[in-house]
């Protein structure tokens, strides 16, 4: 077996194994660590393609920075909290999902197998690159010539992400006003456990909602709310105010 094929198979197995781990493990920390395996496998594949710079970046940025950030977030949220994933109660839907996934997987594999040796008729896509030009330079050229516009507007995407993250993590004022649309009442309990201390604003929130004259959830809110909200109230009241 040629060494490239061997490397590819090993790295590919690491990638796929890691990806399966991301999906299948129940503990979020294990999921994040499996992601490292996938990213590492991709880095090895980059090395096999002689893209050393990309491989280094892959390890430093993804495995080094991004997954660590994931782990921070998971740890900060608390590992136990993320256990509340329920199975889809509709058996039919679950079956359809599994079947659909299987068909998709089979289709993707079939596409790759049918492609065989020659898929494009375009030799340059698979021909070896000129070893005289280092890969950093090659990457720089690609980014600043053909892909300069895509590269620059990525900044816009990051801006959207930052604005979105800031906006959505800002604490809301007052109780939710549409809890009556969730008749089983579970939405309220979830909301209270997510927003300890927010009940301080209860009075003003009710005043707002009652101006509309039909806020039915106000009373239940105070009843159920105190039990869950009380212990954390003192700790978080500063954040809300």
């Amino acid at each position: 077996m040629r060494v490239e094929v061997f490397t590819f198979l090993v790295a590919g197995a690491i990638c796929v194994g890691g990806a399966l781990g991301v999906v299948l493990f129940r503990n979020p920390v294990h999921n994040a660590l499996s992601l490292v395996a996938t990213l590492f496998g991709v880095a090895v594949l980059f090395i096999a393609q002689e893209a050393y710079f990309l491989a280094a970046i892959q390890v430093i940025v993804y495995a080094g920075a991004i997954v660590i950030l994931f782990l921070f977030v998971i740890m900060l949220l608390g590992v136990d909290q993320a256990e509340a994933i329920e199975r889809d109660p509709f058996r039919l839907r679950r079956t359809i999902t599994v079947l659909g996934g299987a068909v998709l997987l089979a289709g993707s594999v079939a596409i790759l197998l049918a492609a065989g040796q020659r898929t494009t008729g375009r030799e340059a896509a698979t021909a070896p690159l000129d070893p005289a030009v280092p890969d950093v330079e090659r990457l720089g050229r690609a980014i600043f010539t053909d892909y300069v516009f895509a590269f620059e507007i990525t900044a816009l995407l990051l801006t959207v992400a930052v604005v979105g993250a800031v906006v959505l993590t800002r604490r809301s004022t007052g109780t939710p006003i549409d809890l009556e649309e969730f008749p089983d009442g579970s939405a309220y309990d979830v909301w209270v456990s997510d927003h300890p201390g927010a009940l301080v604003d209860e009075d003003t929130a009710d005043a707002d909602a009652d101006a509309d004259g039909e806020d039915g959830s106000g009373d239940d809110a105070t009843d159920t709310g105190d039990a869950d909200g009380q212990d954390d109230e003192s700790a978080d009241s500063e954040v809300t105010s």
């Binding site: 993707s108 494009t120 050229r141 892909y147 300069v148 992400a161 906006v167 959505l168 007052g174 549409d178």
Partner: protein
């Protein structure tokens, strides 16, 4: 030689002088001016409000947004002149197309931005949600839509789609006091990210099969070569169709649409129906009709036909059984997506024109309809069910009349723009030999007309419930309602200038000069 000039010369050598054999593409700033105005508008707004904080008056952000959109729309005029004089061009190293198609789409996006800014100006104070980030995100997502509509490269298209979608996810979830809004935002985000992965996989397979991500190069490659083993290319096409089909809300990738339209703040629902749909359809037209059209039409047309028929039927029939008006409009937007897919399906110049005209028409209809839902929903958006529209005509005759006109237009009644839009797409589909799809489309138009008339009948022939809180139509919302009705009627009665304009707005690909 003095010190500074030596330094400047040295800097020039190091920084500005490119390496030998390294040709940086020239960036035609004038050519991408509309998009730049939207981008800079959002960034400047963000900077100004974060520096001045509370000292910025509340009217500033909406006025700024509308000005930016109008300015971007005006910037299209000289570019259109340039296009008319010298023909289509490709800019920034083959990444951005400057043709009638992208310019027309830009104008439609700007119109959608004006509408959403007018609606948000009243909606945000009413819901105590005032913050300038809404307008920043609107402008950013508009820039994403323009980027998609003018993308000549699949990577640019993908980044544009992400800018557009991520902003839309955030805006959907931004009603912090409605749990439904946050649920919708999360749902939209998870499913949207999933569909983006499909699109990206499709792009990767296409790149593998054709050796390029540039649409013009893909087109040229497929025109010049016969791919003997085309499984990779077909897989790429199919996956890209899934990714873009999700964004346009085509059945069977529509499941997010009703929940998201219902949960999102109503002005944002209108914006999604206008600009987000437009961006995705523009991408669909550019990739499938233009890049893959000549060589691979036979392969993708059956798939699009299935999507179109399913969207038409499911959109029409599911809308009937709804009792929530916002959900009805969501399902009707799926039905409209089916109609626009007819224009894509035609894979002809006429099809592209008719799809663009439909998108323009639908932007007006959706903005106006969701404006009515915003007003009737009242503070907290509790009143969205059909019951709440009972007797609207006796309480607010003007509002009921406006809604009636908009609904009749959506149903496709003559003298409104909806009729012409439907006529054009159906004609285009028949001309390309898809008579049976056109027949299905017309039948579903009848079915969905029943749903629209049901809302109209509820407004006019049912008694108003006792003790409902008063209905206020704020000034800016009133302007938006007026604009949408004027647009719908004007385009319906005198479509000539705009449809002529759309006739020239066919996407063309130009291979970048090496």
């Amino acid at each position: 030689m003095s010190g500074p000039s030596v330094l400047a010369a040295a800097l020039q050598d190091v920084l500005i002088e490119p390496a030998p054999g390294f040709e940086v593409p020239s960036i035609d700033w004038a050519g991408i001016a509309p998009n730049l105005i939207l981008m800079l508008g959002s960034i400047l707004l963000l900077t100004v409000v974060s520096v001045l904080k509370r000292r910025v008056p509340s009217w500033f952000a909406p006025v700024w947004t509308i000005s930016a959109a109008v300015a971007a729309g005006c910037a299209v005029v000289p570019l259109w002149q340039r296009f008319a004089d010298t023909g289509p061009e490709t800019l920034v190293g083959g990444a951005v197309g400057l043709d009638g198609f992208s310019l027309f789409a830009t104008v439609v996006v700007c119109i959608a931005v004006v509408f959403v800014a007018l609606l948000l100006a009243d909606y945000l104070p009413r819901e105590s949600l005032e913050s300038p980030e809404w307008y920043v995100l609107v402008l950013l997502s508009a820039s994403g839509a323009v980027t998609m509509a003018s993308a000549d490269d699949l990577i640019v298209l993908f980044v544009g789609l992400e800018i557009l979608s991520v902003a839309a996810y955030v805006m959907t979830a931004m009603h912090r006091r409605r749990v439904t809004s946050q649920e919708a935002g999360l749902k939209y985000f998870v499913l949207g990210a999933f569909s983006s992965a499909f699109l990206l996989y499709g792009i990767a397979l296409t790149y593998g099969a054709t050796g390029s991500t540039n649409l013009a190069e893909i087109q040229a490659f497929l025109a010049g070569d016969v791919v003997t083993q085309n499984a990779l290319l077909l897989g790429g096409l199919a996956f890209m169709l899934v990714g873009l089909g999700f964004k346009v809300g085509a059945v069977p990738f529509h499941s997010w649409a009703p929940d998201v339209y219902q949960g999102a703040p109503t002005p944002i629902s209108g914006y999604m129906a206008g600009a987000v749909k437009l961006g995705a359809f523009a991408a669909l037209l550019r990739v499938f009709v233009v890049a893959f059209g000549p060589a691979y039409r036979q392969e993708w047309q059956p798939l699009v036909a299935v999507l179109a028929v399913l969207s038409l039927v499911v959109g029409a029939f599911a809308a009937i059984s709804q009792t929530n008006v916002k959900r009805m409009l969501a399902y009707s937007s799926i039905n409209h997506a089916g109609f626009i897919l007819l224009g894509v399906l035609a894979a002809s110049a006429a099809g592209t024109e008719s799809a663009l005209f439909y998108l323009l028409a639908y932007t007006f209809m959706a903005a106006g309809s969701f404006a009515v839902v915003t007003v009737v929903g009242r503070t907290g958006e509790h009143r969205q069910s059909l019951e709440d529209y009972r007797g609207l005509a006796s309480v607010r005759p003007g509002l009921a009349l406006v809604f009636t006109v908009l609904l009749l237009s959506q149903a496709g009644v003559p003298l409104t723009v909806g009729f012409l839009a439907k006529l054009y797409v159906v004609t285009a589909a028949v001309e390309s030999g898809f008579d049976w799809v056109a027949v299905v489309a017309m039948l579903t138009a009848v079915v969905s007309a029943f749903m629209y008339l049901r809302i109209v009948a509820t407004m006019y022939f049912a008694d108003a419930p006792e003790g409902a809180p008063a209905l206020r139509i704020p000034a800016a919302t009133g302007v938006a309602l007026g604009l949408s009705v004027v647009g719908v009627l004007l385009l319906g009665i005198v479509p000539g200038p705009v449809s002529d304009w759309a006739n020239e707005a066919v996407a063309q690909l130009v291979v970048a000069a090496p």
